[in-house]
């Protein structure tokens, strides 16, 4: 590496060494930032895994939380929370998905060009409303003067889910090639037949993925149950008309209580919740990638 060799490419005022040094410095900062990001995730998941996984037991899924402020019995499990979450989020999904698909169909197949951005804006606005605000809205709409009900949580969660489902369905509908629609219409099929019978079936896999991801996203929402379904019943309950316990709220309450057994239970609940979210999200994405590869191959 003689200086004569390099001078062929060098220029006066080049300051190449200094410029390279600055570049290296910035790259180091970026590496550090990425390391920090990974470290934080590692710490979070690490704590949850370490303290939560050890608490896993059959009791967790069978026994229930004690009533709030109960001094005699300690919480022994989260069965009521798991059941409540399943029921309420299931209902929310059943409400949000059809409406979301309909909105997506409208935007993708029927909306005039000037209306599309308006609907997209509305979806973005809804997505941006904080969950706590949605929760007190639903409270004012339904529960004022009437007492708590699990259905209210479902409504609130449905509102939160709606933009996700609608937006992902819009994206998927956009992926269906126009030639497919034109072929069906050219054969004389009416618009509604084309949309429901030809276009929509193509997208079912994608809609499922989008729905599953939305469910993973809202399964951790604490604000709706905090405001709308705070009464903790003892034992497992199924009826959504009554206030049902949910997993994120259970974690919240147990966290606030501070007693060691409650804290341990909260870690366990957090572990199950995170595992649920991760497994569901990852398998949805894996499934989506696989079906995309199959579609790409068949085209």
């Amino acid at each position: 590496m003689s200086s004569a060799e390099i001078s062929v490419f060098a220029r006066p005022n080049d300051r190449l060494r200094r410029r390279k040094l600055v570049g290296r410095g910035v790259e180091l900062i970026a590496w550090f930032a990425a390391a920090m990001g990974v470290a934080v995730l590692g710490v979070l998941v690490g704590y949850v895994a370490e303290r939560g996984a050890s608490q896993l037991s059959l009791d967790l899924f069978i026994k229930s939380q004690a009533a709030a402020f109960s001094v005699t019995s300690a919480s022994q499990g989260l069965a009521n929370a798991f059941v409540g979450s399943l029921v309420l989020i299931g209902i929310a999904t059943a409400m949000a998905v059809p409406v979301g698909i309909l909105i997506a169909i409208y935007v993708s197949e029927f909306a005039p060009r000037s209306v599309k951005p308006v609907v997209n804006l509305v979806l973005d606005l809804v997505a941006g409303i904080p969950a706590i605000v949605v929760s007190i809205f639903i409270y004012g709409l339904i529960e004022v003067g009437h007492g708590q009900t699990g259905l209210a949580v479902s409504y609130a969660v449905a509102v939160i889910m709606l933009p996700f489902v609608a937006r992902s369905t819009i994206e998927i509908l956009a992926l269906v090639p126009n030639s497919l629609r034109e072929a069906a219409l050219g054969l004389g099929a009416p618009r509604w037949r084309t949309t429901l019978g030809v276009v929509l079936p193509q997208t079912l896999g994608g809609i499922l993925t989008g729905t599953v991801l939305a469910v993973a996203r809202v399964s951790g929402e604490t604000a709706p149950p905090l405001v709308l379904s705070y009464v903790v019943s003892q034992g497992v309950a199924w009826n959504p008309v009554h206030a049902l316990q949910t997993v994120p709220l259970a974690i919240y309450e147990l966290g606030e209580s501070g007693t060691p057994s409650d804290t341990a239970l909260a870690w366990a609940g957090a572990f199950v919740l995170i595992m649920f979210i991760l497994v569901v999200s990852l398998s949805a994405r894996w499934f989506a990638a696989r079906s995309r590869r199959k579609l790409g191959g068949s085209r």
Binding site: M1, E5, F9, R11, N13, D14, L16
Partner: protein, 287 residues
């Protein structure tokens, strides 16, 4: 002085063009800029080029012609180490610039690209103003003195000054395709490289814009060395002093790679090529 290239009777009339090309100086007076020895370029395990050896001479326009897929772009991108940006790229053989291996241990590709500039196939001006497009490189590379004059000189040399001088601060994206390409040339010239590589510079442009760019090359030859890739034979016949013909060779199991078939003065390539494959190509019998 324009000269009509006539085709000898040994091959069928193929290329009649008007050219401003001067006759080549004798071999001893030509200074070698690039010495390429046995170059092999691979992406992963597949060769794109094999066994390329040639010399590029100073202040000449050297054209690389050949059918699509023969590795012309790969070749030219080796000259300024642009292929280094592709993760799977590997190179064997050497490329020497004024005697120095451009891939030697102590050589920084940033410095190589400073001296060996490039203009790309599709115009790619930055989404900045016309002035800033030219000035950005100057500022970053420490040529801030007399910035306005440098920008003006570069735009003038690229034959864009008159069209641009009243709208220097407007977005470069408002220019036509031909103007944008000339802006890219101005941008490359402004930083005063020694060599300008052009990868099919006019293929995305209309004939008039193409002509302007060819004129540019002719006018700037005295200051720079040009290596251009073109799929347009007439263009090569018009502007190039030396022409290198690449073609596709095939091997077993469907392997394909590019090879240098013939490299000589343009006139010879188009009137009396030595290799039959060259003759087939320039007479339009294939490719």
């Amino acid at each position: 002085m324009t000269e009509v290239v006539t085709v000898s009777s040994s091959i069928e009339p193929a290329v009649r063009v008007e050219t401003k090309r001067q006759p080549l100086p004798p071999r001893e007076r030509l200074e070698t800029v690039f010495e390429i020895s046995d170059l092999e370029a691979l992406y992963g395990s597949k060769s794109a080029l094999k066994g390329v050896s040639l010399e590029v001479y100073k202040n000449l326009v050297t054209a690389i012609i050949g059918p699509s897929g023969c590795g012309k772009s790969t070749f030219i991108r080796c000259l300024n180490r642009m292929n280094d940006l592709v993760p799977s790229f590997k190179q064997q053989g050497t490329i020497r610039y004024h005697g120095h291996d451009i891939r030697a241990a102590g050589v920084d590709p940033v410095a190589v690209r400073r001296t060996i500039g490039m203009v790309f196939q599709r115009p790619n001006p930055f989404p900045k103003s016309i002035f800033d497009n030219v000035a950005w490189g100057l500022k970053v590379l420490g040529m801030k003195d007399g910035l306005n004059e440098r920008v003006e000189k570069a735009l003038t040399q690229a034959a864009l000054w008159d069209e641009a001088k009243d709208r220097l601060k407007t977005s470069a994206l408002g220019l036509s395709g031909g103007q944008q390409q000339r802006l890219c040339i101005a941008r490359a010239i402004a930083v005063e490289p020694d060599v300008i590589l052009m990868d099919e510079p006019a293929s995305a442009l209309d004939p008039i814009a193409t002509q302007k760019i060819e004129e540019l090359m002719h006018n700037l030859k005295s200051e720079y060395t040009f290596v251009i890739v073109t799929h347009n034979m007439q263009q090569a016949a018009r502007v190039a002093d030396m022409t290198a013909f690449f073609s596709i060779s095939r091997g077993e199991e469907g392997a394909r790679w590019g090879e240098l078939i013939e490299y000589d003065a343009t006139e010879k390539i188009f009137t009396a090529p030595s290799d039959k494959r060259t003759e087939d190509y320039v007479t339009g019998r294939f490719g």
